[in-house]
Amino acid sequence: MENVLDIQNLNKDYGGFKLDNISVSLPPGHIMGLVGPNGSGKTSLIKIILNLILKDTGDIKVFGLDQQKYILEIKQRIAFIHDDHKYFNHLNLKQVKNIIAPFYQNWDEAIFNDFIKKFNLPLNKVIGEMSRGMVTKGALAIAFSHHADFIIMDEPTASLDPSSRRELLDLLRELMQHEKRSILFSSHITTDIEQIADYVTFLKEGKLVFTKTKDELSESYALIKGGNDLLNTGIENHFIGIRKNEFGFEALTNEIDPIRKKYNNSVVIDPANLEDIIYFSTLKDLK
């Protein structure tokens, strides 16, 4: 089955910052988490997919269609949800719906009303007076009402409190169980990504560090702990990032087998979670 998103060798140079040779694919029916520190290029990548920013070189296909040539057809099947709702603060949800709905050919008023009931959203309350969680739910209701096959969410949990974040993630999981939609979800909150993503794409300073399934990720990376005496043996050549203290070191590696062969008795090898991977990857490069 055709990928929902296919990005090949994407480049975009802003002068001081550039997205460098990014290649990412997302099969249908899956959630991809886009992670990386602030300024790593997550939002730029999303904007390029939506043609809000023009790419310099590279190929982007959405639903198998060229992203620039067929952008209007693609946008009929995409929903973009982002964190900045300021422009709607003075409008209520019904007014927002009335602005957006006419531009979609497949707008389904019945589905919109169903979601409004399901999410218990007030139609006549202005956005500025609604909680962030409610606003995000409202955006989701709009996304589902035009039968979006691909939902792109830029930092949707960034300004939510922990319970609203959990609620939103549960909701997305629930909706994904019954639907064949795909979601691209950017966040710098790694626990959110770990909870719902099938694929994780990690960007750092505009470069693609990896794009893998969650299973591949847990098989590829490990935390290595050991004494400082080992640091003279060349073990650091296997590390991506390392943190040292007077008692020893803790490091991230993606060369688990060589370490296991050489140092099995002298180090502790623990599974690395996403936060570990990002933390150690953003430390100063060793190689």
Partner: protein, 224 residues
């Protein structure tokens, strides 16, 4: 009607709806200006409407700066709407707001003349033509000069740009081109003025179309 025309129509309606309070304030201002105009300007309604036109446009162009400030551009561009449609809709919204403002201003001004002047209702065709045509042309020129600047730059003091352009236009248009001296405003469009005016109108429309083309080009290349 083609689908892109329908989208442009929807966008214009959306623009007018989103900014209805600002637009109403603007129209209240144009009514207020028309009402308080002095008896001197009553005698010279045609020329003084240039200023009303400039004021109206000064007020309605910055309406669109809200698109950048509040990321509204981002919202509309994430919907299935082409950048060309967005640009065209902004041009026509500006023109529509300006024309409605002019009509309101002229109606109020005419009503005032009717009730306060012993000359009664004597607006002849020439006066109506000139009274409307000058500010209408100035609105087209102001729009044509201001909006490409708006589409080229993300952040710009559009008030300042509009103000400078309107000062320039007032000078060239009202005083130099039309031969109007501030002491001797004329009302009637003389036979001698008809041909230059038609040339000016056609040039203005050409300028408008060139400006639209340039703005579309700028906006298509613009990163949001």
């Amino acid at each position: 009607m083609s689908s892109s025309s329908k989208v442009i129509q929807k966008l214009i309606i959306t623009n007018l709806d989103l900014y209805k309070w600002k637009i109403l304030m603007l129209y209240s201002f144009s009514v207020f200006t028309a009402v308080i105009r002095t008896s001197i300007s009553q005698k010279h309604g045609g020329a003084s409407s240039v200023f009303i036109g400039a004021i109206i446009l000064l007020a309605c162009i910055p309406v669109f700066t809200g698109f950048n400030k509040n990321n509204r551009d981002l919202l509309f561009n994430s919907l299935p709407i082409s950048k060309t449609s967005i640009v065209i809709s902004k041009y026509f919204t500006t023109i529509i707001i300006g024309i409605i403002g002019l009509i309101i201003s002229l109606i109020v001004h005419s009503i005032k003349i009717y009730f306060s002047d012993s000359l009664v209702w004597n607006i002849n065709e020439e006066l109506a033509f000139k009274t409307f045509a000058i500010p209408f042309t100035s609105i087209l020129i102001l729009t044509s000069l201001s909006l490409p600047v708006f589409f080229k730059f993300k952040k710009i003091n559009i008030w300042l740009v509009s103000f400078l352009i309107s000062i320039f236009l007032t000078e060239v248009f009202a005083i130099r081109f039309w031969g109007i001296k501030s002491e001797t405003f004329t009302i009637h469009l003389t036979e001698k003025e008809v041909v230059p005016f038609i040339i000016l109108l056609l040039s203005t429309i050409a300028l408008f179309l060139i400006s639209l083309y340039i703005s579309i080009h700028f906006y298509k290349k613009k990163d949001l």
